[in-house]
Symmetry: C2
């Protein structure tokens, strides 16, 4: 069933008012009519099955049929800190990471990031990523939309490590040394509800100074398998194996 | 170190001759000179560190320094059978699947595939995917280049299930029922060197007839986590968790 995330104002006790792009999508793209049902979610994670009662061009009314109880969220809160990659790779990372259960994303200007975000364009870039996260959450039946946080430097990121229970850095030098067990040791130390920060470097990887700074600040370097992954693939591997360890095996 | 897969003819006892696009890449793109080192691999999985002895425009000679012994290949042979998806998604699937360790790919025309491959264009499409697989293998330091197999139908695919030790179908109805444990039960039954077929549906999923046919032919339906993944994300999840179960935990 089609799913839409709506601002809190849209929800009344037993009715929902859908406006803007979501109303257009329901009316014009999906060509739905009164009596059709969709799922509407607050950004806080409450989801309701609703039945459309009136479909106008820019405003749709619906009545709540039932609150949904299924919860497909990861049992841990995973933030992906991604070194700014080239081109539109960050969009891919946010889309796929949202499907795979990430709770938030932090774009990070790293020593080897070739791309720089101009101050004036940062808001626009964030809005674009927020839209991608919202659409991916709707498609993958999430209960929440991941947050896109402010652009940070590696130093600022390291200073915020204390906000997390675990900080795992995907470091290919660890992969080359064959130290595969570090990842399973790291993940088996995770408890449900823990906050995890996954740190992924840009195309050129981390500088030695960044690794030193992050390790000093408490990060654990892990190999994400023995093959060298492109920057946009590393978070997909990380989120998939966190799901496997905590949702499937756990 | 830069890595190139070369035809068997390129290798002599202790020397290598690099021609064509690879020679252009080394000479013009990487601007390498005599004395620089690269890695050259046969398509059978033998890799050598070589030192360039002569760099001409279209032909490069190199001498073998040593045979490489590290093996970053998955301990199982995973074939991804992918229902034909829209747009250039199959290219993404081959690129990411190669990074994540797949051994081969089978494009499959499924009941709900919107895209059809015209007979006349099949060779060209396969060549394009082979090029993507080669480049991704080079970048991710694989020892082999995954095979791109002939286009098949779901029926033909089912008839070939006996070639595999395990056939796992990513089926979202299993996910909706909350039967998460099926995937770990499936993966813990896998032994090293086994042949695994991962079957992934197109955007619209499998038809009930396809599921029935595959299950009758011996396939196991598994949920790939509790979230609904896009078609191009499912094989990434599957390959990542196979790596985790067999390379990291195993």
């Amino acid at each position: 069933m089609q799913r839409y995330f709506l601002a809190n104002e849209a929800f009344n006790e037993s009715s929902v008012k859908i406006t803007g792009d979501d109303a257009k999508h329901i009316g014009r793209v999906m060509r739905m009519e009164s009596g059709d049902t969709v799922i509407c979610c607050t950004y806080e994670g409450d989801c309701y099955e609703v039945s459309l009662t009136s479909v106008e061009q820019d405003a749709i009314d619906a009545k709540v049929i039932r609150k949904l109880l299924d919860d497909p969220e990861l049992p841990v809160h995973v933030t992906v800190a991604q070194g700014l990659p080239k081109g539109d790779k960050l969009e891919t990372i946010v889309q796929k990471g949202t499907e795979l259960g990430a709770a938030s994303f932090i774009p990070v200007t790293m020593d080897r990031s070739i791309v720089k975000w101009q101050k004036a364009k940062q808001d626009k870039k964030r809005q674009r990523l927020e839209k991608i996260a919202k659409e991916a959450s709707e498609q993958s039946h999430r209960r929440i939309v991941p947050h896109i946080k402010d652009l940070a430097t590696t130093k600022e990121l390291s200073q915020a490590f204390s906000n997390y229970d675990h900080v795992f850095v995907a470091y290919e030098e660890t992969a080359k040394k064959g130290e595969q067990h570090l990842l399973s040791a790291a993940l088996t130390s995770v408890n449900k509800q823990d906050k995890i920060l996954l740190v992924i470097g840009p195309e050129g990887g981390f500088s030695p100074e960044e690794i030193e700074q992050m390790v000093e600040s408490g990060a654990t370097c892990c190999a994400f398998g023995p093959r060298i992954l492109r920057t946009e693939t590393a978070s997909m591997y990380g989120l998939s194996v966190i799901s496997y360890q905590l949702e499937i095996l756990g």
